[in-house]
């Protein structure tokens, strides 16, 4: 399958390893990964902070860049960006765009997937050939869980990883407190939520906390680092792309 890869602004700039892992994994599974070079950001940060006029060019750029009919599916290693493309771009197109933009947005939204959705629903695979002999706990990020309804797809992928010791995270479905600019506008409340999340993670004794969103992992990882818990964060794509011959380098583990 010819798959368009959207790196997301955060993934491209700050967490390229998660995007590399996504590209390598899909290529290893026999797919043709293309990277439309004009891509930048989905505009979610703008929309969620209350700005819908400013991201119109971003929404248009996304629809144009991935609108190419030869791209059969669009994937991104981020539940919240996939949620924004599927649910928020339409809102922006309706308010500030035109009929052509709305049509473009709808066409791209219909073929946009977060990584675990693409693997399980579209490519029909749960065992991706990964090997990761570590104790791991999984945090289902809010937008994956409630905007995309990925359900247990990430867990099914993780359970099929060879050597993994998967431990349940207590209170897994509670928000970690990131919420984009929420972490700045309501820093104290965000911190209170983060403390509960990092305490739950530390209590599992896991070496690694994984999730499908680099943004939430940046928040959780920053909190774990501050309390020196010893638990690292690692994007789901990196665990799925780790094999016996090319293991992920845990010593450099950040999201």
């Amino acid at each position: 399958m010819r798959i368009g890869l959207f790196a997301t602004c955060l993934g491209d700039t700050l967490f390229p390893d998660a995007v590399k892992a996504t590209a390598i994994l899909l290529t290893r599974l026999g797919h043709d990964v293309v990277f439309p070079p004009d891509q930048t950001c989905c505009g979610q940060m703008h929309i969620n902070t209350g700005y819908q006029r400013e991201p119109v060019p971003l929404v248009r750029g996304f629809a144009d860049g991935f609108g190419d009919a030869s791209i059969e599916a669009v994937v991104m290693p981020s539940g919240s960006c996939a949620g924004s493309v599927r649910h928020q771009h339409r809102m922006v197109a309706d308010r500030y765009g035109d009929a052509a933009l709305r049509a473009g947005v709808d066409a791209v939204a219909a073929k946009t997937y977060e990584l675990s959705e693409l693997l399980v629903d579209v490519l029909g695979v749960t065992r991706v050939g990964a090997y990761f002999p570590h104790r791991v706990t999984y945090h289902p990020t809010c937008h994956s869980l409630r905007m995309l309804r990925v359900g247990d797809k990430p867990l099914r992928l993780l359970r099929a990883v060879e050597g993994i010791d998967l431990v349940e995270l207590p209170g897994a479905d509670s928000c970690c407190g990131f919420g984009g600019t929420f972490a700045l506008k309501n820093a104290e409340t965000s911190t209170a939520m983060l403390h509960d999340k990092t305490a739950s993670i530390a209590a599992t004794g896991a070496e690694v906390c994984t999730a499908g969103d680099s943004s939430c992992l940046m928040h959780i990882g920053g909190g774990l680092s501050r309390i020196r818990s010893g638990t690292r964060t690692l994007h789901l794509a990196r665990i799925l792309a780790a094999t016996r011959t090319t293991p992920d380098v845990l010593t450099e583990a950040t999201a």
Partner: protein
């Protein structure tokens, strides 16, 4: 001669400065108190955790729960779409059955109507059963100011009233208090209470009961709220747990019900839907212990005089807006509060309104406005959410609260003009729409490695990012972006190797790393 109808104008919001729809501090500042109060955090965490689990149990056992939510949403949406017609029908039916209907534009009018009706009975005290509408209008304060003493009879409301406190929750107003605090409040404030009172819940309830029983038997006037008003029959409904409400509704000679106009439902049969949705969503019970329905007056049975005060107070203004209209569907079950991670940590007082939590963050700015002044505390409410979406999942009438919050944020930024934040957002969008500029900006972000120093971690950032770095470390930006890796020799080689792995596996049929992937049906998980 034609009637001059005046210039078209938007319907009025709840007026500034009256009632309890606006706090005195912005949410982040007001939240500081609750966040710093360990006792409150523990009380709230325990209480909301318990209610959450109970709710999931009783909603999970209904096979048609989702269909019920759909029905509830559809009935409320229908009611909001033809509110004027339904309210006139309700007025007609109540009047025909011997009741009197009053219309109140805002909190002041509602308070004056109630005070006038109480004075007309010659009484200088009223008993009250929990009513959000009168909490919203500040009726108790108004009655006291004109020499009438109100007595709250709902146990939690009584605790809040005796402590000169404000409710912190829609359904469990004293959720922020534990039994030791309640014991102390009773010892300090209930006249003639047993000085040996301990903190056993049954003993605390008994102390409150002794105090209230005398009021029930002597009061001539009661003020109630209403969960539903049925247009078809003129029937009012109150749903409660303690039976104190039923005493208020049946014993006094005069009953005054204050109801927000959005509480009207079209048909008697609609109660079937809401009486399943409401208790399960709010207290996690299959059915609440007491459901009282009354229609007008009945000679020889119950109050001889019944008044219904229909309160607008910004509801028509909310109705005129698509966002506000959706928020008016709320049936005040409080399920969204109990699942909200923000509410759980800050408590209800941080929201500054009778309506706290996720629905309050939507409803309060709708009723009272949020643009009157730059520093209006209500401006901060739409941002008091991480948009985690738990509230939408819990809402029995399927109000999409996260989307409404995003829309309110948009309305707010559209009206505030140019701010440093807007300039930053504009600049970010301007860079991101030009891939060449974007690439240059990505290179500049590599400067972060300089601040990070040798351990690769940034632990202190300047404002406005200091709120972030106060409690989180940040890894230094990597040397190379994804796009430059993808275009590089190294990236090309890595992807070529990955493709070769796939080819080798498909040729070999069963490679050890199985890059072709096993299909779902082969996976026994």
């Amino acid at each position: 001669m034609s009637t001059f109808l005046g210039m078209p104008a938007p319907p009025p919001r709840s007026p500034y400065g009256t009632g309890n729809l606006r706090g005195d501090r912005a949410f982040p500042r007001a939240a500081h108190d609750g966040l710093g109060n360990g006792q409150l955090r523990r009380n709230l965490g325990r209480a909301t955790g318990t209610i959450r689990a109970k709710r999931l149990d009783v909603t999970g056992e209904l096979p048609d729960w989702e269909a019920l939510r759909e029905a509830g949403s559809a009935i409320k949406t229908d009611a909001m779409n033809r509110l004027p017609e339904l309210l006139e029908q309700l007025e007609r039916e109540v009047t025909e059955r011997g009741g009197t209907v009053h219309w109140a534009r805002d909190a002041d009018e509602a308070n004056e109507i109630v005070a006038r009706l109480v004075r007309a009975t010659g009484s200088d005290e009223v008993i009250k059963v929990k009513s959000m509408a009168t909490q919203e209008t500040g009726l108790n304060e108004h009655l006291e100011s004109v020499g009438i003493t109100p007595y709250e009879t709902d146990l939690a409301e009584l605790i809040v009233q005796l402590a000169h406190d404000r409710p912190s929750h829609i359904l469990v107003p004293a959720i922020h208090r534990n039994r030791d605090e309640i014991r102390q409040i009773f010892l300090d404030r209930i006249p003639g209470v047993d000085p040996g009172l301990d903190n056993v819940p049954a003993h605390l309830a008994a102390a409150a009961r002794r105090y209230l029983r005398e009021k029930f038997l002597t009061a001539k006037v009661a003020v109630s709220g209403a969960n539903f008003g049925v247009a078809e029959t003129g029937t009012l409904a109150v749903v409660e747990s303690e039976g104190n409400g039923r005493m208020c509704l049946t014993l006094p000679e005069t009953l005054i019900t204050v109801m927000g106009i959005e509480k009207v439902i079209p048909r008697y049969q609609d109660l079937e839907v809401f009486l399943q949705l409401l208790p399960r969503s709010s207290t996690g019970e299959r059915m609440n212990p007491y459901t009282s329905l009354w229609t007008g007056v009945t000679p020889g049975d119950g109050p001889r005089d019944f008044h219904l005060v229909l309160l607008d107070n910004g509801r028509t203004a909310a109705l005129a807006d698509a966002i506000g209209r959706a928020a008016l569907n709320c049936i005040r079950c409080s399920a969204c509060l109990n699942v909200c991670p923000v509410y759980e940590r800050t408590g209800g007082h941080a929201y500054g309104s009778t309506y706290p939590g996720p629905i309050g963050a939507v409803l309060t700015p709708q009723l009272a406005g949020m643009h009157a002044a730059k520093d209006d505390p209500n401006n901060s409410l739409p941002y008091a959410s991480s948009l985690c979406g738990a509230c939408f999942d819990a809402c029995p009438v399927k109000i999409d609260i996260p989307s409404l919050l995003v829309e309110l944020r948009h309305q707010h930024t559209e009206r505030t003009g140019v701010t440093p934040e807007r300039l930053a957002m504009r600049a970010a969008a301007a860079v991101m729409r030009r891939p060449a500029l974007y690439t240059a900006a990505q290179k500049a972000s590599g400067l972060g490695r300089v601040i990070a120093g040798r351990d690769g971690t940034i632990s202190r950032l300047p404002p406005p990012l200091s709120g972030w770095s106060d409690s989180r470390d940040t890894a230094a930006p990597p040397r190379e972006t994804f796009r430059s890796w993808f275009a590089s020799e190294e990236g090309t080689a890595a992807l070529r190797a990955a493709a070769a792995e796939h080819d080798a596996a498909t040729r070999g049929g069963h490679g050890t790393t199985a890059p072709g992937g096993d299909h779902d049906e082969e996976d026994a998980t």
